[in-house]
């Protein structure tokens, strides 16, 4: 059976596309799936550093498309997880080095050997985005609960639906439960009401994302972090498992409450 091609995109930059791609890839591979992560952000590659594979790049996506390397030569095997491989983006080329037709061909070749092809889309709605969406069977839209991110996501949802893809699914990233409880951040229901698409995951803000990215070790490699667990749940839902959505209800720390009290009394 040919593999599924899933594109992770957002419109707005900096909301967590690359982190999500790496972690969902890791979580799927840990469940025995053969996964190829494709960095489609040509000129601004980052999936390699987030996955900790930056020192092993020999050939890249553009080399494959232009025939200088075979797919198998460009793919980097993750030594921690034998089922996981990365196809890095070219760093010194531009988005226009590849077109939609070439991306479709490339991903069709990949899906013959992998169960999942995860495409990390660049930010924006221009050429790089279109190249990333063209081969996709499924699209995951990642959003943070902020006005600019939600607005851009709405635009990307519209463009995805216009390209006759199946309805995209939503990942709400960097949710801060304490702020939601204080009425200072939109909650899951608010975002879903505004965007009106199906939810596939909620990932709470988690500092371990930063420390793990510092080291090039995606959090989903281990079971300890809340964000890692949330990405694992997304992978499980992609595999058709019924996983209930977590309710994040951590309380504010005492210090946080006291600090707020003093602010108010000033």
């Amino acid at each position: 059976m040919p593999g599924r091609i899933i594109t992770i995109t957002s419109g707005k930059g900096g909301v967590g596309k690359t982190t999500a791609t790496a972690n969902i890839g890791v979580a799927l591979a840990r469940r025995g799936q053969r996964v190829a992560c494709v960095d489609a952000d040509i000129g601004l590659r980052n999936l390699d550093v987030v996955m900790g594979l930056e020192n092993r790049i020999v050939y890249d996506l553009v080399d494959v498309v232009e025939g200088r390397a075979r797919l198998r030569q460009a793919l980097i095997k993750d030594k921690r997880l034998p089922e996981l491989q990365l196809l890095p983006a070219a760093q010194t080329r531009e988005k226009s080095a590849v077109n939609e037709k070439q991306m479709i061909k490339l991903c069709d070749d990949l899906r013959r050997e992998f169960d999942f092809v995860l495409i990390d889309s660049p930010a924006g709605i221009e050429l790089g985005f279109k190249n990333s969406i063209a081969p996709a069977d499924e699209v995951l839209i990642i959003v943070t609960p902020e006005v600019s991110s939600v607005r851009d996501a709405d635009r990307v949802i519209g463009l995805t639906e216009a390209s006759e893809k199946s309805s995209p699914k939503l990942i709400i990233n960097r949710l801060r439960p304490a702020m939601v409880r204080r009425g200072e951040m939109m909650d899951t229901a608010d975002v879903l009401e505004v965007l009106a698409i199906e939810l596939i995951g909620i990932v709470p803000e988690d500092e371990t994302i930063i420390t793990s990215t510092n080291k090039g070790q995606p959090v989903a490699l281990e079971d300890r972090s809340v964000a890692g667990a949330a990405f694992t749940h997304i992978a499980q839902r992609l595999l058709g498992e019924e996983v209930p959505f977590q309710v994040f209800d951590e309380s504010d720390g005492l210090m946080e409450r006291l600090a707020r009290l003093f602010r108010r009394n000033q």
Binding site: V147, V150, R151, R182, G183, M185, D190, A196, D252
Partner: protein
């Protein structure tokens, strides 16, 4: 007591989340339909003119806006009615308006 309840009950300090949601619903309705605020204003003036021919309305308080709902984009006009205006008289005696209540009509 007040001190303790402040620590433990934490009344909502602000409701900026709801503000964010409402602003998004408005801006997305405009994005999706490509109807600008300027177009809405022109629409509003023309609606006031048309409706005023038949119904006496509170012109200053007419509101025309876009809203995004689950069933798609809606154009919402809020038009306070002052009273029914007599139709342009042919020859018959003018009818008197009996009600002076202000009402809102949704179009």
């Amino acid at each position: 007591m007040n001190f303790l309840s402040r620590i433990f009950n934490r009344p909502a300090e602000s409701d900026s989340a709801q503000v964010a949601k409402q602003r998004l619903q408005l801006v997305l309705a405009q994005d999706r339909t490509n109807i600008s605020t300027e177009t809405l204003n022109v629409l509003k003036d023309e609606m006031i003119n048309v409706i005023s021919k038949h119904v006496e309305i509170d012109r200053a308080n007419v509101q025309v806006s876009m809203a995004h709902t689950n069933r798609g984009e809606q154009l919402i006009a809020n038009i306070p009615v002052v009273g029914a205006r007599a139709p342009a008289p042919p020859a018959a005696a003018p009818r008197r308006v009996s009600t002076r209540r202000t009402r809102s009509a949704r179009a």
